[in-house]
Subunit: 186 residues, 2 copies
DNA sequence: TCCGAATGAGACACTTTTGTCTCATTCGAC
DNA sequence: GTCGAATGAGACAAAAGTGTCTCATTCGGA
């Protein structure tokens, strides 16, 4: 764990609580001086961009772990269903760590991050599409909408957890179940 | 339509595009000078609070229109199902107009607005609860979670619309359908 | 037309934050 | 213990935004 990682970790935790935290507040949260913080991250934007990048790294790792492309090629129904469940559960965990990046306007406005987000969205959509072809997911909705739906439910889960409306342990089940089955009585 | 409403409308439109817009930018968007804007809204916070209040007004009106409490008392399955559909569709429209209030940190940090949000959440949750009792909604999820799920899907819908991934006309159907049925193959 | 209210333009002070810089101190590897 | 790198503390300038104020102008109703 490098010093840089420790700083980023502290910044992440603080920004999850207060997305508008200043460099001074972030430095304090990391137990370092503002000068040192600036030595590691020249600008606030560079710090946020780095956190955004790491957030996207996690997303990418989840897709890698799901072997999205392999599954799509194989078309194994059971395997795809299992991968989808694990993927969403992983996302819930990631959203807990990196939640603020989902709605932070500085990060959302970064062109480079948006470009990569677009690529990952396309990759993820391919998995949803494979799920549709395999008969695991309903095929009357655009795969890209499914990406957005997951995103929205992650935001919802984060908020529900923050407000104490859902116990952390139940969150992943709730998000996954709602994602797959909705709230209609079966 | 009072002058105040015109200003608020312009501010709303701009803030939906750039939630960090300054008072100067908002004044320009409204075609008035910054001085005049400050005459109507002493502080930026007061402007945002007003928009947040109007957003909650709309939410409240939706609940009123749905006759949430009456339906809950009557327990008419068909009526409840219909009201839920209309309610969510209405929310999608509201989210299009007031979307930025869903994630704006100034608004989310306002104690008074939060208190009212809590009340409306409780009211809305009562409707979901009634839906559960009537057998319209699955009863293995907390009613409050359903509130959050709707909220998240509204954020998702807004984002999907903004990025052009979903045609505006299809949005309400998509949100409602995902809300009720999820994305699992039936 | 007249008068008062509302507005626009601009100056101003103030606050907050950012990013830079310096210097003394501390830390760690050797 | 020594030396160099890293750090903390603090000063500093600059930028951006906010809120106030003044004054001339415009607008609208009586």
């Amino acid at each position: 764990m490098t010093k840089r990682d420790l700083i980023l970790g502290a910044a992440q935790r603080l920004l999850n609580i207060d997305p508008a935290a200043s460099m001074g507040a972030i430095a304090e949260a990391g137990g370092i001086s503002r000068a040192t913080l600036h030595r590691h991250f020249p600008t606030r934007e560079s710090l946020l961009t780095e956190l955004g990048t790491r957030s996207l790294d996690r997303w990418q790792e989840r897709l890698d772990a799901a072997s999205a492309e392999d599954l799509a090629a194989a078309g194994d129904r059971e395997a795809i269903a299992r991968a989808i469940s694990e993927l969403v559960r992983g996302f819930v965990q990631d959203a807990h760590d990196f939640g603020f990046t989902l709605t932070d306007h500085v990060i959302l406005a970064d062109a480079s991050l948006n470009e990569r987000t677009e690529q990952l969205t396309t990759r993820e959509a391919a998995l949803w599409s494979a799920g549709q072809r395999a008969g695991v997911l309903r095929d009357d909705v655009p795969p890209r909408w499914i990406c957005h739906a997951v995103y929205g439910l992650l935001v919802a889960g984060r908020e529900a957890s923050r407000l104490g409306d859902v116990a952390p342990r139940e969150l992943a089940d709730l998000v996954l179940s709602t994602f797959l089955k909705g709230v209609d009585a079966s």
